[in-house]
Symmetry: C2
């Protein structure tokens, strides 16, 4: 039984419809997405741990507690964060309009927003957009929806996986928006997942937490955690499998498929990080424990000096070591080892000579792996990130409020 | 009694000589500095908490324990970090050569290095350089020494302060090297201080810890902590004051003067951060406690999104709030307030309209203050930082190993 990853999206699983329309919150392009399950569905979601939370985050947190969810509405162009009571009222009106249009309960609607912070939503535009989105829901609307949630992303991020579940062919589809303000926890500003598997809301939540841990929570673009990060997952059971309501082989199969999708999403977000030219994979091995492995990996992945070195194709491994040492994790200086772009540069705490031509070729690749062996334990971690280029500065210095 | 800050350096206090020479460790320019006190002197020092510590850091840590110090030797161009046993031997030889040349004990010599990590020191060059430096020690050599410790810095950082101490006119002088890999604790890669005040080594250590706390430890350029950071302080007592060997008014006066010098150094390092175009001062007020205030201030000061917004002259205060919220400190969302470049943008959790022309003018200044009132307690913190420009990426992507 192997999971099959392919180019699909949120309408690939059976029984989901979606729409992506333009309502005018962004300067150009689609900016309002709606995803809908015709059948009742279980829902699970994870949210930013930023203490400043946008109004839609607060409302979706409340709604997902009922365990059911049939619609996800996402706007780009405005985060509806730091918008006071007006922001709350605008989310409630959005819920009401979507629930009314789809004849579902308000609490079955999850809302997410991404974009500028501190500006009220242009509700006149949003109202018109919601009416249009409701009217244009389609079984092949996933692609339009995936485009409507982007901000500074250069490509839409969509993927799907099919897998066997108790003899049934099940599917999970995803769309995500990444690019900037990407750091655990959570990693992506927005990720919406759909599945036609039948999973109880309690097990759906558990599976999502497990799968996010070594995917979106192991992703960092710029060390920033946003006010709006969320991952939303709807499961409508249309593939026919017996409901997963306990841990067991079916739960494991579902969680593994979810992990496969989320790792593909994490990789796509890192590769499309603001201004990124390369995917950066940081591996820490033989750490004291998982927490220390993760901490060291994030320190390297967030190091501006490491990220600019990778952009500049310079095997400056001293910066990697400095970042690991600065993270405060336990390490054995006389036993530590490291490789840069897959080529050993340090062993037993001593520099290892390497072939400059081979290093130059390795650094020209699109995907750069940096590994450090801390030589104190047996815990590993891997973090997805990207390099830091002139364009990161350009994008963020010229993104005007 | 006010402290008088002026353009001086490590040879401004009585009884100190210095030299700055070129030995060839850097591609061009002076790269070896020597500072010497003709009279016996007390010494104190603080070092990087990075777990990967350069050979000179380890040796200076050992030497300063004797409480005496008469010479500081600093090379730029090579950090002598991650260099194995060879690195240790090279430092010991440096100690021996300086001690022999000055007829002092080896343990009275403190050593520091800055530059590339993981390459052995070119000792043939260093030996010739040390001989030349020993031969060229002068009472006005501070300026040459200050230039010899720079790497990517664009200006030398030197300052001095005079102050009254028990009726005597005392002086503290400083030189520092900053620019990149700047983050608490410690903040600057290298800072060498001299004073003609008489202070016992125990009180000198205590004073240094106090003064560093709200100066160099409140400084961040890029969130990186280096393998070589250190602050070295020699006190030779040549101004004539009774030795400060207990806490009291003299200790307070000395510590305040030291703080004044170190804050000026912190400001100079931030202003000359790699690629910096602006000094960024982040103030957090009404935090639960000092630790939380500092943590929130550092989160804002290290935020790439905040730093690029300041570079782009964009009042994107949402990024400031997001960074504060992401730092995990306690805050009251409905009472939080903020100002950007001195202009109120948020009050009682709600956006405050501001005059765009006034904001534009404020953002054109060289010094930008960002303030956030967390509205939960009474602790404050201030952190020195700078913006993030294209040139930071350029400098660090093109700094070749």
């Amino acid at each position: 039984m192997t999971d099959h990853l392919f180019a699909g999206g949120v309408t690939t699983p059976r029984g989901f419809q979606a729409a992506g329309v333009r309502c005018g919150l962004k300067e150009k392009g689609l900016d309002l997405a709606l995803v809908y399950s015709a059948a009742p569905a279980a829902a699970a979601a994870l949210f930013t741990s930023n203490l400043i939370q946008a109004a839609p985050v607060q409302v979706s947190k409340r709604n997902v507690q009922c365990g059911r969810g049939r619609a996800v509405v996402i706007n780009s162009g405005n985060a509806n964060a730091c918008t006071g009571e007006q922001g709350d009222r605008d989310v409630e009106e959005t819920l009401a309009l979507v629930a009314q249009g789809l004849h579902i309960d308000r609490e079955e609607v999850l809302v997410a927003s991404t974009g500028i912070i501190g500006k009220p939503l242009a509700m006149d535009k949003l109202r018109r957009g919601l009416a249009e989105a409701l009217a244009s829901l389609k079984e092949d609307g996933g692609d339009a929806a995936a485009h409507a949630i982007l901000t500074t992303d250069t490509t839409a991020k969509q993927v799907a996986v099919t897998f066997q579940l108790a003899g049934y062919k099940a599917c999970i589809g995803a769309m995500a928006k990444g690019s900037g303000m990407i750091n655990p926890n959570l990693a992506t500003m927005l990720c919406c997942l759909t599945t036609d598997a039948a999973v109880s809301s309690a097990l759906l939540d558990r599976s999502l937490r497990l799968a996010v841990d070594d995917s979106l929570n192991s992703l960092t673009v710029d060390g920033e955690m946003s006010t709006n990060d969320c991952v939303l997952l709807l499961a409508n059971g249309q593939c026919g499998n017996p409901v997963i309501d306990a841990v067991g082989p079916d739960f494991e199969a579902f969680t593994q498929a979810l992990r496969t999708v989320l790792q593909a999403v994490a990789r796509a977000i890192a590769m499309d990080g603001e201004g990124a030219t390369k995917l950066l994979l940081v591996r820490i091995i033989n750490a004291r424990d998982s927490e220390q492995a993760r901490r060291a990996a994030k320190a390297v992945a967030n190091s501006l000096l490491v990220k600019t070195a990778v952009f500049g194709r310079d095997p400056n491994w001293g910066r990697v070591l400095s970042a690991v040492g600065g993270s405060g994790v336990e390490l054995r200086p006389t036993r530590i080892a490291a490789s840069f772009a897959g080529i050993p540069v340090l062993a037993q705490g001593h520099p290892v000579p390497f072939d400059p031509a081979a290093m130059k070729a390795a650094l020209a690749e699109k995907e750069i792996v940096l590994s450090v062996d801390l030589a104190v334990g047996s815990a590993d971690a891997r973090v997805f990130s990207c390099d830091l280029s002139y364009d990161y500065v350009k994008i963020n210095a010229e993104y005007h409020t």
